[in-house]
Symmetry: C2
Subunit: 142 residues, 2 copies
DNA sequence: CCGGATCCGTTTCGATACTG
DNA sequence: CAGTATCGAAACGGATCCGG
């Protein structure tokens, strides 16, 4: 497993050490907005993460305290990943990133519903995701 | 130069293709919060980016329309990078990321001033950075 | 089946030296 | 000053293998 090393004392570098790669934030998107919980489900994302990379990212995210592993059904060997409070607090970051992408990505349109909701009551949207885990259909496309 | 290729139609993947590495967001931090404009200034950051990586990231960010290069002083060969509107619109993303880092990074304390300002009037803070480019001293530590 | 670990070829990174 | 060139090291990606 890759052990990230801090490169500076600037606060943002803590996030960059964790998320400065192609996959970590995608895993967090899956668990936060798409209710994914099992290894197989992450693997099935359209971005096609490799098995070894996924295993590495899951264990790094767990080591950093953003997710935690639970033995859902010990006899079948089935495990589930759940997001922690620290992980949930990443929701605003992902939302801002998604808003920026939606505005400038020539490839996808901006999800007008979400933008309107955010403008109306930002904190409420964050709370909704935190509780429901992306149950609202428009969130699942992020 | 590395040409990023889109991996999915999910809007957030546009941002991840651009920023899914250790350096791109650091360059944007430098230009947005620390008023850096010249190649050597970026090089001087404490994270010690290599010259070839910096050149690559600058040209990618320029190709993506987040910064643009101007001939500040044509006869001395001195060039300056300036941030575009599209690049400035990344400020909220960086701010959220910094807030999250500050909250959870055991290594740095949270900049209380900024947190208070953001809670009071988020849009005003963003406008301030947009105009002044990190002139406020507390921004330079981000 | 499920959740990985291992192996291995390819891509990217990073440090230093060098150049227009 | 603002980058290239080079080269070893690290990370990635795909395929396959393994233990429960």
């Amino acid at each position: 497993m890759r052990e990230p090393q801090r490169r500076s004392d600037c606060p943002i570098s803590y996030a960059l050490d964790l998320f400065g790669d192609k996959w970590s934030l995608l895993v967090m998107r899956d668990i936060l907005f798409r209710e994914k919980a099992h290894y197989r489900e992450f693997l099935a994302s359209e971005e096609r993460i490799a098995t070894n990379i996924l295993a590495d990212r899951l264990s790094r995210l767990e080591a950093a305290g953003l997710i935690s592993k639970t033995d859902e059904e010990p006899r079948s060997g089935k495990q589930a990943y759940v997001v922690t409070r620290k992980g949930q607090d990443l929701i605003p970051v992902l939302l801002e990133m998604m808003l920026w992408s939606a505005r400038y990505d020539p490839h996808t349109g901006a999800p007008a519903v979400l933008i309107a909701e955010l403008k109306k009551d930002r904190a409420k949207v964050v709370r909704g995701i935190r509780r429901a885990g992306g149950v609202e259909p428009f969130l699942r496309t992020l």
